[in-house]
């Protein structure tokens, strides 16, 4: 199963008298591929560029390009004359009926062994990116490696090709049909990380005591910045599956978790959700929710009012190390904060973000922070 499925045949067409009655004669002599480039810089399509030497005779030449068992976007096929661009001209491209083929009509100013570059978009060949990161025991940095996974299910064997990604060095690699190759292409041994715990009041249950024997896991993420300080920052990091491990201090590792990394442009942050912490417990309760400033219509019906609401949250850290919890609270509509005992940033009209420093657990018990948020929602209509 090593058959080439792309067939290129050069035909010297003898121009006969009949204006439209040209017979296509396919020649068996196939020009072999010279340099081949597989360009994987576009995640949606793979561009193949291959150079071949065509034996052209002075006058009009027909070159057949046909394929079977591969998926080529016909409209993407291009021909570039490299040796004698002034003397060799592509006159027309025709598609024979019912065939996966096209015919180039080329006029040549002389008898040339002409190098041409044929390019086309080939289906079912692509690349994936994966990341593998090993955090140190203190979780301050990771040893980050990225692999490119070449998947060739195009139907075509590439014995030897230059593979280009949108960054990094091009590399020589052969890849056969139905073959998958995993190649290491990025090593960043000391990438600083920040560990983040996030409680989003819209996503997680408020009161763990109301759940029967279930823990509420607080999502834990690692944040990596794609910049030079991280030993990165040279190019955008492609999205892909990231697996995180941690050094256990005994020359082994544990698996921390995995997440899909998004595409991260230079200077931007990558956040990888690895798992849930059950050592930080948030108990959030609504202690007050009443209507005030009632405005009534002539029938004494309340048509407009404000609310007066109090939310409290107790955050307990059962870990033996301090932690910073990012807490996200939501208040819909128009509102005023009457009193809040912890500082927050308003992320948008209805989202408040708290960065809450939690002390470590001591013998006396967990490290605790209390949040009390007293706010009024304004001009609520009935």
């Amino acid at each position: 199963m090593n058959a080439k499925r792309l067939i290129l045949s050069a035909t010297i067409a003898l121009l006969l008298a009949g204006p439209m009655a040209q017979a296509r004669i396919k020649l068996v002599a196939l020009p072999e591929r010279a340099a081949t480039i597989i360009r994987l810089d576009n995640p949606n399509a793979t561009l193949i560029e291959e150079e071949r030497v065509l034996t052209l005779q002075q006058g009009l030449n027909q070159v057949d390009f046909s394929w079977k068992g591969v998926q080529i976007d016909e409209d993407s096929i291009r021909l570039e004359v490299l040796d004698h661009p002034d003397a060799v001209n592509l006159l027309s491209v025709s598609y024979p009926p019912g065939e996966s083929a096209l015919v180039w009509e080329i006029s040549s100013g002389g008898d040339f062994a002409e190098t041409v570059r044929i390019s086309y978009l080939l289906g079912n060949i692509d690349r994936l990116i994966t990341y593998r990161a090993v955090a140190d025991k203190a979780e301050t940095q990771v040893d980050l490696r990225s692999y490119v996974i070449l998947r060739n299910f195009s139907g075509e064997d590439f014995d030897h090709a230059r593979i280009l990604l949108d960054y990094g060095e091009a590399f020589e690699q052969g890849i056969d049909h139905e073959e998958t190759k995993q190649v290491l292409f990025l090593k960043a041994p000391t990438v600083p990380i920040r560990k983040i715990w996030t409680f989003d009041a819209a996503k997680l249950p408020w009161d763990p005591q109301r759940l029967d024997n279930q823990n509420v896991g607080i999502p834990v993420s690692y944040r990596i910045v794609n910049d030079t300080a991280s030993g990165l920052g040279r190019f955008a990091m492609w999205g892909g599956k990231a697996r995180l491990f941690q050094d256990d201090g005994r020359s082994s590792t544990i698996f921390l978790g995995e997440d899909n990394a998004p595409l991260v442009p230079v200077g931007e942050k990558m956040e990888l959700y690895i798992g849930d912490s059950r050592d930080i417990v948030v108990t959030q309760r609504k202690m007050r929710d009443v209507q005030i400033n009632l405005r009534k219509n002539d029938s004494d019906r309340v048509v407009l009012y404000d609310t007066d609401e109090i939310i409290t949250a107790t955050i307990e850290n059962f870990k033996d190390s301090p932690a910073t919890l990012t807490m996200i609270q939501h208040i819909e509509g128009q509102w005023d904060m009457e009193k809040c005992n912890l500082p927050y940033t308003k992320k948008d009209a209805s989202t408040l973000e708290f960065e809450i420093e939690l002390p470590a657990r001591t013998d006396a018990g967990p490290g605790v922070q209390e949040l009390t948020m007293h706010y009024r929602r304004r001009n609520v209509r009935n």
Binding site: M1, D176, G257, G275, R278, D279, V281, M287
Partner: protein, 449 residues
């Protein structure tokens, strides 16, 4: 029966044409370490082997037929001469299943220790507990166990076994990745063709006898489990090594603490439990309770009670409980009971402070209810009872009288009374709620602002 096999092929590179000239079966793995998760069907396996490399290009073939290994997780790292050995690529050749080929470029020749790691499914563990209450139910002996099960398709001999407590985030199931036709799938076809998982077969009798004999030769002491925290996880390392053939499970004791002080806690909340009183065992995972060294993984607890001096037992019930961080309180639900009774009785209903609108319709009023709650402990041990009452609106006042040991406003429509009772006793308390209705809530809001 080994299903994971590694072969070393030494490739001669001559003029760009690679010819396979040799095929060497590798020595068996020297050591193997299994790190088993319980929040997902996931195990990190790490094995060390000694490769004999030649200078130049080497290819190592690794196959895993009939196992549940995720091929995308395969990694090989040299443990010596790391600078001189370049593991350039891992190839999954066409039209061959369950086989990978590492292309290694070595600047040294000779034996090189390497470590091969991968994720596999089919191994699992769970925690379970046995609690034995003292006759007076003031203390409990708590024994923790870990049960490790191997259905991975691979026999693991003399493996160092570690189990992980924690919730790991996974995108794909390892078992699904292990069944894929192509390790990374293929472009154009998102859905891989599933194949039935390797079904563990029952061992022949001879092997079972071997295992039993091996167990008989083992030292007659329970193994220790070393515990340590890593990131959001807890790692339990079982002392020494274990041999767990495919299809087998092993039970190991993780701790045994005698006389943990416990409180017999009973709860009543009509909206949640109905009319029955629920029994809980309450303690904390801290040093005061002779615990607190590590979190307690979630698992099932069976509670027994010592009934006489001859160590006879009575079974009290069971409770699954959640993960308990160090320092947190534990409340184990043992189910409904009949020997502790809570009877709230509505003793009086009144309404008051009626307000009328301009059409002389009733626009607001107060509902005043007086409840008497009788709590009876028919057992001969002391108990603590928590009675939770919920209201249908956030506008209320409450007064109470009688034998109450604690009162707490839990949230805007919930209160909790706590009563402690000695053996064979009863207590009664009363409370009166005023619930503000209609426009009377405006008065309430003005007053409480």
């Amino acid at each position: 029966m080994k299903r994971v096999m590694a072969f070393l092929m030494i490739l001669m590179v001559a003029g760009g044409a690679q010819a396979k000239i040799d095929l060497t079966t590798l020595p068996t793995r020297d050591t193997v370490q299994l790190t088993i998760y319980n929040s997902a069907d996931l195990t990190l396996a790490r094995e060390s082997r000694a490769l004999t490399l030649k200078e130049g290009g080497n290819a190592l073939q690794f196959s895993w037929e009939n196992t549940l290994i995720d091929p995308t997780s395969l990694e090989m790292l040299p443990k010596a001469n790391a600078d001189a050995i370049d593991i350039a690529e891992l190839v999954f050749p066409p039209r061959v299943r369950n086989l990978g080929l590492w292309n290694i470029h070595s600047e040294v020749s000779g034996k090189v220790p390497v470590e091969i790691s991968y994720l596999t499914s089919g191994l699992s563990w769970r925690a379970f507990y046995m609690g034995t209450l003292s006759a007076d139910e003031t203390t409990m002996r708590l024994e923790g166990y870990v049960r490790v099960t191997n259905n991975s398709g691979e026999d693991y001999e003399n493996a160092q076994v570690r189990v992980i407590v924690g919730r790991v985030h996974l995108l794909d199931e390892i078992a699904e990745l292990a069944r894929r036709e192509y390790p990374y799938g293929r472009p154009g076809l998102p859905v891989p063709i599933p194949r039935p998982a390797a079904v563990p077969t029952r061992r022949a009798l001879g092997i079972m006898q071997d295992v039993e004999m091996a167990a008989a030769r083992a030292p007659m002491m329970a193994k220790e489990i070393v515990k340590e925290g890593l990131s959001e996880y807890f790692l339990y390392t079982i002392e020494g090594t274990e041999t767990i053939p495919n299809g087998w499970s092993k039970r190991l004791q993780s701790f045994d603490v005698d006389a943990v002080p416990v409180v017999n806690l009973y709860k009543y909340e009509a909206e949640r439990y109905g009319d029955r009183v629920m029994r809980f065992l309450s303690f904390a995972n801290d040093t005061e309770h002779k615990l607190g060294e590590t979190p307690i993984p979630d698992g099932m607890l069976k509670v027994y009670r010592g009934v006489d001096d001859a160590k006879h037992l009575a079974y009290e019930g069971q409770s699954s409980f959640k993960y308990i961080p160090v320092g947190e309180k534990v409340e184990l639900n043992l189910g409904g009971v009949a020997d502790v009774v809570v009877e709230p009785k509505l003793m009086e209903i009144r309404s008051d402070n009626h307000r009328f609108d301009r059409n002389r319709n009733v626009a607001g009023w107060d509902d005043i209810q007086t409840w008497k709650v009788e709590v009876r402990n028919t057992r001969d041990v002391p108990i603590k009872v928590e009675i939770t009452r919920n209201f249908d609106a956030p506008h209320w006042d409450i007064t109470h009288s009688g034998s109450i040991d604690g009162y707490e406003k839990v949230d805007l429509d919930t209160v909790k009374f706590t009563v402690e009772l000695p053996g064979r006793s009863q207590k009664t308390f009363e409370y009166t709620t005023t619930l503000y209705r209609g426009v009377r809530t405006e008065d309430y809001n003005r007053r409480t602002r």
